[in-house]
């Protein structure tokens, strides 16, 4: 565990260097507590959390003391962190579906059954508005990132890579394997909150 300065108005707490649910929950609990104290924005990820502060309101020293204390004794996940269950109605017809099934030694219906047959956890949101990293995939699904990312992946595309699954929230470039699509809008700036999925939520893809 380490607490490192991240510029002149943030700290980065690094807990570990592996993907594991209790560590993800710990990172989020630190973020929640920092925000509850009104110190500033946070960005929790797999095993780290960025804690921002405003030097005009909180001195670097005071912020450092709180960051160190939270890192040494994380508040721990609360009951509220259990998350909601979100169902993602999915049409499995993505351009990488057949190839991903083949390289996993699976028939397409088998891959669909594996992908839609388990509940995932939303680890954290990042990279683009509303994008939730969810996992873990059934280890039978062999899905390394594509060697050459696509220039444009449409919003609503369901994709897999490296043991995780996502729904592309907006049109964007992307290197994940595209296996399906959903009509569900996972990001809508006119909605409050704009991001459909929150960290900690449980996800299930339902084949349509």
């Amino acid at each position: 565990m380490s607490v490192r300065p991240f510029g002149d108005r943030a700290f980065l707490i690094e807990l570990e260097q592996r993907i594991d649910l209790p560590i993800i929950d710990t990172a989020r609990s630190i973020a929640d507590e920092w925000e509850r104290r009104g110190l500033g924005d946070t960005i929790p990820a797999y095993a780290s959390v960025v804690l921002e502060f405003d030097p005009a309101r909180t001195s670097w020293k005071d912020a450092a003391v709180v960051a160190e204390a939270l890192a040494a004794e994380p508040p721990g996940a609360t009951a509220a962190a259990a998350g909601r269950l979100i169902e993602i109605p999915t049409i499995y017809d993505g351009p990488d579906l057949a190839e991903t099934a083949a390289r996993s030694g699976l028939a397409v219906p088998e891959l669909v059954a594996l992908h839609s047959g388990r509940e995932y956890r939303a680890f954290f949101l990042g990279f683009m508005p509303g994008l939730a990293y969810c996992g873990m995939l059934d280890p039978q699904i062999d899905a390394p990132r594509l060697a050459a990312p696509r220039a444009r992946v449409p919003a609503g595309t369901v994709a897999v890579a490296n043991g995780q699954t996502i729904v592309y929230p907006v049109d964007s470039p992307g290197g994940w394997r595209l296996i399906g699509r959903t009509e569900l809008k996972t990001f809508d700036p006119a909605r409050e909150p704009a991001a459909l999925i929150r960290a900690g939520d449980r996800l299930r893809f339902v084949s349509r």
Binding site: G7, P189, A194
Partner: protein, 290 residues
């Protein structure tokens, strides 16, 4: 009403940024040069959370229907109304008078603020534009013929002629080592703070790309972590990228150092082919250059 006649290459509505949404993956957006932006607002008599216009590729020309205090800032930026007006100076624009924002070949981001400010609704708490996800009340670059409603302004003669000293653009930006400096060889960190980099033309609002001495980084992959503006990412291959206003909220490249907020504008305004060096400052400040 503010009427846009010549929109420049890409002009967007920005306020100081969209905060409180990083956990939903939403970048802060806002000005690439926060110091110049804040100065423009101040000079035009706007509040710190008002909006102004960021312009890439001058000239930018507009008219206002009624009398307004106007100010333009940025690197090598100046105004022309009835006569030339230096940048970083407030001026009274008469009703219907043409205002031209001009720069030099070194200008990358110019800011123009008008008293009253664009009266646009906030989207997710902010008027900042993030083009990649079409976020903001005006989620596209401004075009010739656009009409922006303005908030009330009691612009008086006494507001004109104020001046703010621009920062010294070009050359050196102050940065704090880390957060991933311990994952680099000591020589890499020392080299980062001593060599001179060259700015590459691929730079944009997302980040400034640099060429220079390679900085060998960690050989093992890093878990994706959160990011703040000013972070200097070192991808494999060792050419650093300094992240700016439109940076993604998370990333997987190791971060060797982070530019302090007051110097983000110096980074953002560095033009392609120019040199940039990083001065190491101690966390906690005061941030005096060595």
């Amino acid at each position: 009403m503010m009427r846009i006649a010549t929109p420049g290459l890409r002009a967007t509505i920005q306020d100081r940024g969209r905060f409180g949404h990083a956990r939903a993956g939403i970048p802060p957006a806002g000005p690439a040069d926060p110091v110049a932006f804040a100065a423009a607002l101040d000079l035009a008599g706007c509040a710190p959370d008002d909006a102004a216009i960021e312009i890439i590729g001058l000239p930018f020309t507009f008219r206002c229907d009624d009398r307004r205090v106007v100010a333009a800032t940025g690197r090598d930026v100046r105004l022309r109304t009835r006569g030339p007006v230096p940048g970083w100076t407030s001026v009274l624009a008469r009703p219907g008078e043409e205002v031209i924002v001009e720069g030099s070949s070194r200008t990358r981001f110019a800011y123009v603020a008008v008293s009253g400010g664009p009266a646009l609704p906030r989207v997710l708490g902010s008027r900042a534009t993030y083009l990649a996800a079409a976020l903001g009340p005006m989620p596209r670059p401004l075009a010739a013929g656009d009409e922006l409603p303005l908030g009330p302004s009691d612009a008086g003669v006494e507001a004109a002629g104020r001046h703010i000293r621009p920062p010294e653009y070009g050359g050196v930006a102050r940065a704090i080592a880390g957060p991933h400096d311990a994952r680099f060889a000591d020589e890499s960190v020392a080299r980062f703070f001593s060599v001179t980099f060259t700015v590459l033309p691929e730079s944009d609002r997302m980040g400034l790309r640099l060429a220079g001495a390679p900085l060998p980084g960690p050989t093992d992959d890093l878990l994706t972590c959160g990011i703040v503006a000013g972070a200097v990412q070192v991808p494999r291959g060792g050419a650093p990228i300094v992240l700016l206003a439109d940076h993604q909220t998370t990333g997987g490249y190791p971060i060797i150092a982070t530019v302090i907020r007051d110097d983000l504008g110096i980074v953002a305004q560095a033009a392609a082919g120019e040199y940039l060096r990083f001065d190491r400052v101690t966390p906690g400040g005061p941030y005096r250059s060595a």
